[in-house]
Symmetry: C2
Subunit: 289 residues, 2 copies
């Protein structure tokens, strides 16, 4: 089974636990709408790729780590789109959750997805219970305070925020969870995998800033020019388009170089380089050509 | 150390993890504001009382269970008070979190508290790792979908909600987590402790409805008559004041009778009966006298 099929199957299994005859139907529907159809599932794919590179000796735990990370990512998108943050009318090419289900169910869908992430970790971790605390701690750290995605979002409410601090918490943290979580699920030391997550996370943020600056809304699936309109820290605003493209390349090279020795070293290297090619928006590639 | 001091100390230790030099200061402040000063801390007190009745053989794990439950309760209060739900200007006798910090930080404070609850469970569970999955699952079930407090709140968005279903999910679930979580933390079978949690949870909801119907806002610390104004299911509306008081008494008796045999049976019985006396609003006691 390829990684995408594996992720979608595990995602459906996780979401099935939140639905049940006793569940409030509209919230169940809002949760499903929040996660299907997904985006590129880059975080869970990275997590599974690292777990495989480390031997994938407990696929159920690797799945759980990957899915928990994606559920937390989806939760953050639902809450970030709320009227009090981005007030985004669309996401992934369709109306945002609060636009369809209303604000109350959007808040609750995000809350429920956070809880479901931790429940999913426990369900998938029963085969290697001694590994669970470190895995839950690593993923919890990536999403909560003081330096996870929730903290990253909160930096928007602070004056004088520094670009890199903001990006690290907002996007980088969940990528670090993907690499370290994949390693932990396979019984490997997570520490040497941090840098890969940091580099890819920052590269994605730079790519997102590039798309926000140059893409058309149809390709992006959400409104463009949002960061600039909201006066948000942004790599393109700080470095220009060429500078941002250079930064992206440098980050990906550093990330690939940081991959520690492991059974699936060369396959992982190839996966990351292949996916990296899709990162740069085609308008930028065109204008550079 | 009495239970309240034990809870406050453990609560400060848990919150300290969310604060750090790298944390966004306003969100750190909003989180602290959400949990201090607390209310009566009834859920963590119930959790510790059950853990003690079962021998309290791992106090760190009992503390973690109690604090996680209180953090989740505080998270639900912060989110329930948001403009899109109750739009409550006050809570626990002071301005609500969103009134002081704004809506974005109130959403994020709730999210961060949910994550912190699970991190707290892991930190306190390292001494008995094999007990952690069941404890995390029990507490996760009480707060998430399909039948935890998030689900309970979502029933407000469904037409034709049945009073008892709503109450069970909205208030009962976290009390069930308190009794079963206390038992699990002490290595006891959680199943016989469910009914006590259900009964006390429903009794608290009935008491809350009574207070909402008769209390003055100063005593309550939040606006009164809110449920009626929002057309919400309510025991007083369904049963009248006398009927609601009768229901409350019946629930507490059933709860106390359900306590399974355990080392601290008689102390626990006494604690619950003592605290139950404070449940009925004094206006109702006066009018009945």
């Amino acid at each position: 089974m390829d990684a995408m099929s594996r992720i979608e199957r595990a995602m459906h299994a996780a979401i099935a636990h939140a639905d049940a005859p006793v569940a409030p139907p509209k919230l169940a529907e809002a949760i499903s709408y929040s996660v299907f159809p997904g985006g590129a599932r880059v975080r869970p794919r990275l997590c599974l790729a690292v777990a495989s590179a480390c031997g994938d000796e407990d696929p159920a735990m690797a799945d759980a780590a990957a899915i928990a990370i994606e559920l937390l990512h989806c939760a953050s998108l639902v809450h970030d789109d709320l009227p009090c943050f981005d007030d985004a009318p669309t996401r992934r090419g369709k109306p945002s959750v609060h636009a369809v289900f209303g604000e109350p169910l959007a808040v609750l869908a995000g809350d429920a997805l956070i809880v479901l992430a931790f429940e999913t970790l426990v369900r998938g971790g029963l085969g290697q219970v001694h590994r669970l605390p470190a895995l839950i701690a690593a993923i919890g750290r990536s999403v909560g305070m003081p330096s996870g995605i929730v903290a990253g979002q909160a930096w928007e409410s602070e004056p004088g925020t520094i670009l890199e601090d903001y990006q690290r918490a907002k996007t980088g943290a969940l990528f670090v969870a993907a690499t370290t979580g994949g390693a932990l699920a396979s019984g490997a030391d997570p520490a040497p995998w941090r840098r890969l997550g940091e580099c890819i996370g920052e590269a994605y943020q730079v790519a997102d800033d590039l798309r926000d600056a140059v893409a058309d809304p149809e390709e992006l699936g959400k409104p463009v020019g949002r960061d600039a309109a909201l006066g948000r820290p942004n790599a393109v605003a700080a470095l220009g388009i060429d500078g941002a493209v250079g930064r992206l390349d440098a980050l990906l090279s550093e990330g690939v170089e940081s991959i520690p020795p492991c059974a699936g070293w060369s396959e992982l290297r190839q996966i990351i380089l292949m996916q990296a090619q899709r990162l740069v928006p085609k308008q930028v590639v065109r204008s550079a050509a």
